[in-house]
Amino acid sequence: MAENNRAVLKLKEKFAASIIDVVEFRGEVTVTVKKDSIIDVLMFLKQSLQYNLLTDLTAVDYLGKKEDRFMMVYQLYSIPNKDCVRIKTPVSEADCRIPTATQVWRTANWLERETYDLFGITFDQHPDLRRILMTEDWVGHPLRKDYPLQGPDREPYKGRLS
């Protein structure tokens, strides 16, 4: 159960005021925390609870579905304890920036560049925040929900005409 998860227990002890939500789905525990304490939470998980591997870092666009448009997602894994936990934090469209996690794991460097490139979320104090998959002069952020699938200024595909 989520309440007995070692990360959840410790986080509730130490960051009780920052935790927004704890969910368990299909055996996976997700903890949602407030944006201003995200780096402290990640640092604590890495240093005190041995979540030493940042498996993945990405964002989700909830355009029109949630109050805060974006959700940052951090997948953490502990090689010594062989368990994982997912940390999420909401990012609003008006204040579309978040402190970088590169100070915690160097892995975050490219993963944050990708999130910046495809979602347009700015990472403060990132050492090298450039686009990574799209070209440097690209306009827009393709994985945003309001970015058309077929690309800008093109008619949507309507299927074969014949």
């Binding site: 789905f25 299909r26 996976e28 997700t30 030493n52 591997l53 940042l54 498996t55 993945d56 990405t58 989700v60 666009d61 909830y62 579905k65 997602v73 997948q75 090689i79 062989k82 994982c84 997912r86 794991w105 160097r106 892995t107 460097n109 490219w110 993963l111 990708e114 495809l118 686009r131 990574i132 998959l133 799209m134 070209t135 393709p142 994985l143 970015y147 699938l149």
Partner: protein
């Protein structure tokens, strides 16, 4: 007084030893590398964006095109993620065939790795030998799925069809001879003085750095970290198999080479155990809301045809929630993160590609070495650009 300045050199995207369309901007002091800046994205096809507009069954063929040297591993990771989301139980026969195919895929991917890696360093014979064996794996692919590379063979809940009768013999014959071929490669390389000079001490990365930079798979195990998802967080039935996880010591290219060779031998053993376990039975779960009906129902009954039509065109709604499934792909941890809003298409579909994360450590591994050693580092990282750019 004489002054020196560094030179900037462009390597790729069209360069035979960058394994695809990788572009590296190098800053050189003579022949010594001062700075490496990788530029990627030349193969970006927007698979994550495309997947948000397709039903869960329709996404599967796209996953073949990630790491195109290991299509069945990609299929497996994706299928397991969807099965976790839908809570589907898979029949035992399907599970066993999946593991046999995933391990054959590992062999195939490692064969391409050893072929290209050796060719980059100058040993051409290994390339010819390894591609000869890879051909057999491709034939097995063709036998069961009809395609040599983009297999698209697994389905949510099982397999698209059962394997033909000659499958068992063909796989069995192959893994009987494969260890002998591995001895051949080792005979050509392991004690070869040129090979040793090029790989021992090359591309050093300590265990702490490797974890901090997110390396996974053989590249991490080469640095002495004993961690394998198949053993430590078993998925898809791997808990029923016995195998060793090789670990390196010296954190260099040579140790990563040894780790991958042992992995190939272990893959043969896993396949043998799988063939011994293989019993007749269904290959698709009986879960009509999610799975396709068996083909004979589609062809012979109107209910089956309607069922097929509904699943193929409309798909199935997934419960609201999010799942992450990581699998030990040949190149490292391949993860699929699916966020569902309750519809028949994912709200967010994220692929965690091992090559993308592993490539980040190229700078750490190659700084201060000669430009020719960089080629060995690219080979030892075993990257595939289809997966990096998605």
């Amino acid at each position: 007084m004489a002054t020196t300045e560094t030179m900037t050199l462009n390597m790729g995207p069209q360069h035979p030893s960058t394994h695809g369309v990788l572009r590296l901007v190098l800053e050189l002091d003579g022949e010594v590398i001062v700075k490496v800046t990788p530029h990627i994205g030349y193969l970006h096809r927007g698979i994550e964006k495309l997947s948000e507009h397709r039903t869960y069954h329709q996404i599967l063929p796209l996953t073949d095109r990630l790491d195109y040297l290991a299509p069945m591993s990609n299929n497996l990771g994706y299928i397991l993620a969807v099965e976790k989301l839908m809570d589907v139980q898979v029949p035992e026969r399907a599970e066993t065939i999946r593991i046999i195919m995933a391990e054959l895929t590992r062999l195939q991917s490692h064969l391409v790795w050893i072929a290209c890696h050796a060719l980059d360093i100058g040993a051409m014979t290994v390339f010819i030998y390894a591609f000869r064996e890879r051909e057999t794996v491709m034939e097995i692919y063709e036998l069961i799925s009809g395609a040599r590379m983009t297999s698209n063979f697994f389905r949510v809940g099982g397999l698209s069809q059962d394997v033909p009768d000659e499958f068992v013999k063909k796989v069995s014959d192959f893994i009987d001879v494969m260890p002998g071929y591995l001895d051949q490669y080792e005979g050509l390389l392991t004690t070869n003085p040129i090979w040793l000079k090029r790989t021992v001490g090359n591309g050093f990365i300590s265990a702490e750095d490797a974890i901090d930079l997110g390396l996974t798979g053989p590249a991490l195990r080469g640095s002495g970290v004993d961690w394998d998802l198949r053993r430590d967080n078993p998925y898809g039935g791997y808990e029923k198999y016995q195998f060793k996880v090789p670990v390196g010591e010296k954190c260099d290219t040579f140790d990563r080479y040894k780790v991958r060779l042992v992995e190939m031998r272990e893959a043969c053993k896993i396949i043998r155990q799988g063939l011994d376990k293989l019993k007749p039975g269904p290959v698709l779960a009986d879960y009509p809301q999610v799975c396709y009906p068996p083909k004979e129902n589609v062809y012979n009954s109107i209910e089956g045809l309607i069922h097929h039509f509904k699943i193929a065109s409309e798909g199935f709604p997934a419960p609201e929630g999010e799942v992450y499934q990581g699998v030990e792909a040949p190149k490292g941890e391949l993860g699929f993160y699916i966020v569902s809003d309750g519809g028949n298409k994912p709200q967010r579909f994220r692929i965690r590609p091992p090559s993308f994360v592993n490539l980040q450590s190229i700078e750490k591994m190659s700084l201060g070495t000669m430009i020719a050693d960089l080629v060995a580092v690219i080979g030892t990282l075993d990257i595939v650009l289809g997966e990096i750019d998605r």
